[in-house]
Symmetry: C3
Subunit: 422 residues, 3 copies
């Protein structure tokens, strides 16, 4: 059905939708649903920004290649013969054919299946049949993609003018991730789920735990939703006492971690920054070792050089990713929009590269909490998107206690579109 | 393929298509096929007009809720604790999530699954966790939807400015439907079919019986197509005699019904009215009791207070509905466009609420005629839509005898779009 | 993801894309991917041009009808009672319903299933019930479609102003096809495949054999890719000698064929012509009889009046068709775009009408080479389209040796759009 007011007039410009946004409220519907806004989002947030796409440890050996599809783009992550990670556009310089299909493969050269144009792993075109003597191969190398490794997490920027402030992300996260040695971890499991909603609803869903208690029984065993904000007035005297005890314990743990050389304090997103992230080392509930069904470590072999199971959960949010680095394993998720109302969430579970399935970890036990949580969130995002598409929707108020991060994300989102001329 | 004339020019405005329409002819192709016309149709005919969506008897008890999806809108029909029927937009006032999924459920409160915002059945927001002391719940009630009950048939208007002339529909139909007590009937069966054609082709198909003889063998056992117009010159002398006999019998039956207190005469649509409907009490063929395979009653328990199986077929057309109320059962259909070339037809078969399946009625016998007819019509609508989308299509002439109702519908359709500024 | 340069500006006009095309290079991405270009392509190349759609021998007997769907158009090929082939738009002149479904049927009249309007096989409306005395049937004949038969191959033009230079196609091909008597052949097998790419990628793929060696092991048994261009500098001395031997043999064969009354020399497309085609009689490899798995005839009964298995492969390209006429059988393919990124390729295998399956030919043996080749090409086209849709794609250089026909096709394509006002 059509919106109430003059639906046969031209829809407002994106800039008008952005101007319409009320602080403290969810976004106007069109920003979640319109095709032109989706194109703008793709341009700004997935083309001009740094986005998390993969892991160094997905190409552990020279000749390993891994293709990631990002909307209409496709990039090849590979490790060359000198052990250097490289990222290329998956587009032959002849007539544009894809060089490799999605997923992993092992290559000695990159040979286009169409006409056998053949590229070195360094990207140089070494052979192009029937192109004649005058053909200049040197200007037909594979196009490289800008990328950085943030402690082993690969972020790419598809544009030629990547935001410089990714340095803050790197400087913040390298020391936090170093002990986990994610560069040399192993992907124990990977799972794709397509959420039937806009990517911003996926991100909003991830940035609050207001919905956890009612929806995530498995996650709530280890997750402490108090850390994500609450209205103190709604707590019973007993709960208030418990909350105070938790906050005191959390402050002590943070101080102890920092003292032991593990940076832990919260680093917050900057609304006026280009690269949006938040990190903090959090306590887990129960015995506090892992986001597992019983909060005990799900992998006996700890990550990297870690020998303490109680280093908590290093939590990292980006605008298309969330991550939890625990002593025994890590969970790394990336978000790739497929359309205004369709979003791919790719979740990977990482363990130490020498951890052995069936010996050091049971795959079901390792993956069950976030598998369940991801499915529950997909349903919530679908119901949200359906409601927001309804002409009866109007932006509602965020809880200042439990949804402050959403307000901050929305403000950053609006500002970035404006900065890029929308 | 593209249209013949200058296909690389901008397509004509909707207003030009409307102006192009020739009286006595089917509509220009674009009015059936274009995306912008579909959006205009949704705005005018499914947002600003009264549309049939459900039945009081779908929520028979306090706490019964029934969700109907109408394009991007979704409405909750429910009966509150004071036995009052209410209709709400199925959109949480927080971040817009759907409150209930499609179909029926039983509720004591409406609790949003996302963050447990909790509404009374009267629509008031009674609980919203973590929103703080200053939060004003009173301005966050569920949004009500305008609705009327026409003898138990629920019509909604999604806009805030519903057409006033629905009163004529109510005044006409309440006395006609009273004896059938549709408010307290029972839905014995419901069936959704998606027709691969524009909604107006679905409605045109329903408003003539010119196609019945060649396509609806089951329906033609009870339906008398003479009542829907024919060219007298094409009848054989024998057929002409039979037609005259039928018209005399029909006139007598109408007079008898009226004398017995059953309003029966035709009430015609007004081309300049907003709310488009037609009703008339019709004879059925054979023994004349029901649109069943043998024209005998398909349900032994008659509807409401009726004790005469020969009260004919009270036939009611709206712009998104058709209905047949017979002594033993009623057939109620609603039409919900899903896209320019996709239309949902939802058919329900009603019987007395105390009628027992297997005792008073056999479900197959009750539903077989309209199940077959609906499938046959779906195929006709699909073939029509395909042909109308062909650049070789040009509007063809309606039969003045057998398709006069289509001409009247088309004129009303064009006028309504124009009145609403298209 | 969005293109690099100012993606939030309006996309360039089609004319700007056309002007942007670099000679010797593949087309700008938008010409393969954009919706508006697809509409323009449909208008110019599938509505205003002659397109290959079927065969006289698909309607061998009076009353045979065969429906071909061409985007939103649908045409009926039929043979009337006087043995004359006719082509009509498959649209009833009443309310536009399709008269016949896709595929073959046998008819004595064309009766619309909706309201039984009944047309003679000559197209005249002979009966329209209930239309009244004043109704003029004579202006409601079925709309004929312009068509020509090129040696039994039916080309239609959906517009009223078909290009006149189809005469050159007819004059060229009639004498070449006459001995094969395609008018009286038999369709032994037909196969539809939907390629997930733009139709021009399908055509480009067909117009070069640069990709054959790496992709078509079955076809390369009989196909001689030397005839499609190569860089002589890349040949080894041995290969160069073999190439020279082939060219000499080919020149002799052409001279011999011509002397025996079989026109064989290449006829090239005219860049400034409307109707784009190329034909030449080619040698086949091995024993040279057929594009079969072992190059021997796959059908014992030769086509038409042919008694020599070594007449080579009469190869005919149009802008939506490719064909191979060999002594024992012919392969005829038509290309129908379904969307910017979806193209139907319909392949038919023809044999002598009296050839008997299981006696004169084995269907698997007859069809295996082109079935495999078509599947391989579909994969290549899909990978091409995906890469061309990637913002990192830029038009690449055609091989002047092996892809000259693509450059010629691209130039013709651009010119035709410009001539038609794009």
């Amino acid at each position: 059905m059509a919106p109430a007011s003059s639906p046969h007039q031209a829809p407002p410009a994106i800039s008008a939708l952005l101007a319409e946004r009320l602080p403290g409220h969810s976004l106007p519907a069109g920003l979640y649903t319109r095709d032109d806004v989706f194109a703008a989002d793709m341009d700004v947030f997935f083309y001009r920004h740094w986005i998390a796409v993969g892991l160094e440890c997905e190409v552990p050996e020279p000749g390993d290649a891994h293709v990631v599809e990002l909307g209409k783009s496709s990039v090849i992550l590979l490790r060359d013969d000198d052990n250097i990670v490289r990222v290329y556009h998956n587009v032959c310089r002849h007539r544009g054919s894809r060089l490799l299909g999605p997923g992993s493969s092992i290559v000695s050269r990159l040979v286009c299946p169409y006409h056998q144009w053949t590229y070195e792993l360094t990207g140089e075109l070494m052979h192009a049949p029937h192109m004649g003597q005058d053909f200049d191969r040197s200007c037909r190398s594979l196009k490289p993609v800008n990328f950085v490794s943030v402690g082993g997490l690969i972020y790419v920027c598809l544009s030629d003018d990547p935001p410089a402030d990714v340095s803050r992300l790197i400087e913040t996260m390298e020391p936090r991730l170093a002990p986990y040695d994610i560069r040399n971890a192993k992907v124990a499991h990977s799972c794709d789920i397509v959420e039937r909603g806009n990517w911003k609803l996926t991100i909003e869903n991830n940035r609050e735990c207001y919905h956890c208690l009612g929806n995530h029984p498995e996650l709530c065993v280890s997750f402490i939703d108090l850390d994500f904000g609450y209205d103190p007035a709604t707590l019973s005297p007993d709960d208030r006492e418990r909350a105070a005890a938790h906050h005191a314990r959390f402050a002590r743990a943070t101080a102890d971690w920092e003292a032991a050389g593990y940076p832990s304090a919260a680093v917050l997103p900057r609304v006026d920054g280009d690269t949006n992230f938040r990190t903090q080392r959090l306590l887990m509930d129960g015995v506090g070792e892992s986001q597992s069904p019983d909060t005990r470590a799900a992998c006996a072999r700890l990550l990297g050089t870690i020998d303490d199971k109680l280093l908590g959960d290093v939590h990292l949010w980006g605008h298309n990713t969330w991550n939890h680095f625990m002593g025994d394993h890590a969970v790394v998720a990336t978000v790739i929009p497929l359309g205004p109302d369709e979003t791919l969430v790719r979740t990977k579970w990482l363990v130490h590269k020498d951890a052995v399935e069936g010996v050091d970890y049971d795959l079901d036990r390792l993956t069950s909490v976030w598998t369940a949580t991801t499915r529950q969130d997909a349903a919530l995002v679908e119901h949200s998107h359906a409601g927001i598409s309804d002409p009866a929707y109007e932006p509602g108020p965020y809880s200042t206690f439990a949804e402050a991060e959403l307000d901050s994300f929305a403000a950053w989102y609006v500002r970035q579109l404006q900065v890029h001329g929308y």
